[in-house]
Subunit: 343 residues, 2 copies
DNA sequence: AATCATCCTCAAAGCGCTTTGGACACTCGA
DNA sequence: TCGAGTGTCCAAAGCGCTTTGAGGATGATT
């Protein structure tokens, strides 16, 4: 049942039916009611393509599924981020069109998005340092916002990011204040821009106290539990082991926790752990009021919300100058961090 | 730059340009080359809506982001599943349109998918026992395949599922063979069909050896690490604690592992743990050759592949009778399970 | 020279919707 | 009685593509 048929069955023109359905004022209340009722009865649904073609709006935004750089690992953040974004978008009638950023050439990846009309804008995730996709998107003239950012070109596009440098600076300060001097950093892959910033924040905080990092206490890898376990275990076996771990995700922290426990040490007493916590719904940091890990927390679900909100704003007014949102992660104190031993 | 302009700039008709671009034989090789070259130079991209309207194919499939029943928890499986599906779909030129299954009425949820023409078919995930969405999809006459299934109406629609009952039967047998008699089940939410089946497999295996389950050793909740920890810790404090845990996800197993360790017990020696492992890329079960947990393994990434493949088949031939894929999970042996103590 | 395949190309009719620019009937004040 | 104003409705022109049914060149065949 299309508009033509519906109009015919009502003895009205397509124009009138369309207007009645879309709430235009040029239609009498009686007619509108009659049309609405018939549409419901016949299960009429406008064809989104036709409507989109006529209006010029796709009512959809594109999202590229990020794969952690060069790894076959799907970003665990994705599900919560997209859930957040989807809530906002759905409430405004927008759909999400997903593509997979695989190994092929970037240009090729954005192929389907680019086929004009599929989407009104895009959200880009997990930018690498010096990511070239941003140039590509700008060149295409499609509205987009980046979740995260690329250091060099901060002000040329819209982004939403947490202050990763500040977060890790704060976290490091926290450990330094507790008397820790040998602090290990279990970071994510530092080709990712956020991991790079976190490392900077860590080093900065150390430097401010006149400390230099021990490269033997720094690791950078895809953020799995196994990685956290392996590296923490290795570091704890060192002649001069760390008294604290700063990790980039809850999974890594859990791995570190396991390494600490299996060495007969007590987390929070013998060895401290501070982590970043993306607030993933399926990976909560203890009970809401009783966190297990001391953490810099910033729910990625909220990030999804905000990115979507920004993108919709940009779509409504494509010519506005680039704008940004920077979120501060808050430091949540848990039992996993405590005074450095031997003090 | 649209087809009309491109044709004009070449002094050709739209027909010829369209045919040249889409590989129809009625165009001379010379013309085709000339057209392709001009299209590239002008950065011409066909409008997907217009093309879709003309061909009747949307070249996209719908995917509903599942939320674990009544919980605000995003299914951690989602990211890997969708990555798998996206690979297959992308290779065939299909996009993915996502919607969020929120709290509203189901009918409302499928709204955008239903607006005709958005998608050619759908993949439904995480069905509940007696899920009504299936009836809805059937009634709509849109091709769909279900990841998982709903017990009562197995043969009325296409589904892909792992043999959850058999997997948990096997896992339970494994523990029984090792001499365990008090086995705890840390299951997912049993409103989910798969969790229900797992429980059945567990109980069946016990029954076959003349054992009955102790309800104090059975829990059912959203599958988080915290849940695994809390429930395992509680059960280990019982007067007659379990000697083995059977858990529904790696995260839960990790929680149990933590509970075991913090009680000063050794996993695999004092207490065994067997889990189901969805093979999530960001949550590997140890090293590829050295798993940590004994597990029934079935990568959800592959499930995504298969579901997509099935859906494409269904889209190509919508009238075929419902067909199914049942995958067997394989039992991976790790150091987390061993002979029951006191034997 | 006329006929006929064989290529290559085209004009035009959709696909299903929105939207522009009236048309028609009716009311109301002058 | 007229003109303007108002409230409803409509025909038709797009939106950008694919596809049908023909048409104009060629060169080969009669």
């Amino acid at each position: 049942m299309n508009l033509k048929d519906l109009a015919a069955s009502l003895g009205l023109s397509q124009t009138t039916v369309s207007r009645a359905l879309n709430g235009y004022p040029e239609v009498s209340e009686a007619t509108r009611k009659r049309v609405a009722e018939a549409a419901l009865r016949h299960g009429y649904r406008p064809d989104s393509r036709a409507r989109s073609l006529a209006t010029g709006k796709a009512m959809a935004v594109g999202l590229v599924l990020p794969m952690t750089a060069r790894q076959e690992i799907v970003n665990p953040i994705f599900a919560d981020f997209v859930a957040g974004a989807a809530e906002t978008l759905a409430s405004r009638g927008y759909d999400i069109v997903m593509s997979l950023a695989g190994e092929e050439e970037q240009t090729q990846i954005y192929r389907s998005m680019l086929s004009k009309g599929r989407v009104d804008g895009m959200i880009m995730q997990a930018p690498l340092t010096g990511d070239r996709r941003i140039g590509l998107l700008k060149q295409l003239g499609m509205p987009f916002v980046v979740h995260g950012r690329v250091s060099d070109h901060d002000d040329e596009y819209c982004w939403m990011d947490i202050d990763n440098r500040h977060a890790f600076h704060t976290a490091t300060d926290h450990l330094l204040d507790l008397g820790h001097r040998r602090i290990a950093l279990l970071n994510g892959i530092e080709a990712m821009d956020f991991a790079h910033r976190r490392r900077d924040g860590f080093l900065e905080a150390l430097a401010e106290r006149g400390l230099t990092a021990d490269t033997a206490l720094m690791a950078s890898e895809a953020m799995t539990e196994h990685y956290g376990h392996r590296e923490a275990a290795r570091m704890l076996r060192l002649p001069d082991p760390p008294t604290a771990f700063l990790t980039s995700s809850l999974l890594v922290a859990m791995g570190a926790q396991r390494a600490i426990a299996s060495r007969g040490l007590r987390m929070g007493l013998d060895v401290s752990v501070v982590t970043h916590d993306d607030g993933l719904s399926y990976l909560p940091n203890g009970e809401p009021d009783a966190p297990i890990f001391t953490a810099t927390r910033s729910p990625v679900h909220d990030a999804g919300h905000i990115c979507a909100e920004m993108l919709l704003r940009l779509i409504d007014a494509p010519q506005t100058a680039p704008f940004h949102t920077k979120l501060e992660a808050c430091l949540v104190l848990g039992p996993s961090s405590g005074p450095a031993p031997n003090l």
